[in-house]
């Protein structure tokens, strides 16, 4: 499918950037005239993916988060969020609702939320190398 727009954003894994990442991806998505509901879904999914990089991949220490956005002719938005952190040993287990390795303040719902607010969620990971999460969202509106 032909790309009609794309964007790359690289940010340090700092929690203050969670809000920035949501806003930046929403601004890119807004160019495709999505519904408010779709924009909310996108914000939530991005927030989950970026937070996972900060909390799990880099354990709240320094690192970079690579966000890659592509909009194709069929008005589909692909959001790739990549880290070079610790990686996930068992992806199927990590994607189970309520599974968490992070204790009291985390609910283990991030992947479940990303999947339910998107059309497709793909997770690739290698222990010690990093993780790439790709969220695909078809938008109802017409591209500008």
């Amino acid at each position: 499918m032909k790309k009609i727009n794309h964007c790359k954003i690289t940010i340090p894994a700092k929690s203050v950037n969670e809000g920035y990442a949501r806003a930046a991806v929403a601004a890119f998505a807004a160019l495709a005239d999505p519904t408010l509901e779709e924009l909310s879904d996108i914000r939530t999914a991005v927030s989950e993916a970026v937070t996972n990089c900060i909390v799990h991949a880099y354990h709240e220490k320094a690192g970079l988060i690579y966000i890659d956005l592509t909009l194709t002719e069929d008005n589909t938005l692909k959001i790739r969020v990549k880290d070079k952190g610790c990686g996930i040993a068992d992806i199927a287990q990590a994607r189970q609702p309520l599974f968490t390795t992070a204790g009291e303040e985390r609910s283990g719902l991030g992947f479940t939320v990303m999947a339910s607010f998107s059309d497709k969620l793909a997770v690739r990971s290698a222990v010690g190398k990093g993780t790439t999460v790709t969220i695909t969202k078809r938008l109802q509106g017409r591209p500008a």
Binding site: S15, V16, E18, G19, R22, S40, R43, T44, S47, E48, T51, I54, V55, P97, L98, E104, E105, R106, S107, L109, G110, T112, V113
Partner: protein, 99 residues
């Protein structure tokens, strides 16, 4: 966050965006209110919240644990429908009152 007390009920009015970044401060403030005021019921009022991800669920789960250890119940109110959907995925509705 705004804290009000009526009898043995303490209400925390949450405002703005709840994510992993903002949840840190909210957690601290909520636990301080629980420990210093010792209510029988803690009400978390989400009606001022404009964005929430699963960090909001973690925030409620964590406060439920603190509250229970002090013999206090938890009520969650004012959730937008999409946030309530996320909250209910956690099974919290068995532990916390949703209104």
């Amino acid at each position: 966050m705004e804290i009000t007390q009526q009898g043995n009920t303490v209400t925390l009015l949450l405002t703005g965006e709840i994510d992993h970044h903002t949840a840190k401060g909210l957690r601290q403030a909520a636990d301080d209110a629980l420990i210093t005021r010792r209510p029988e019921e803690l009400v978390l009022d989400f009606s001022g919240v404009t964005f929430m991800d699963s960090s909001g669920v973690g925030l409620v789960m964590g406060r439920y644990k603190t509250a229970r250890s002090l013999g206090c119940g938890v009520t969650v109110k004012g959730l937008r429908p999409r946030d309530e959907k996320i909250m209910r995925l956690s099974g919290l509705s068995a532990l916390v009152t949703f209104i």
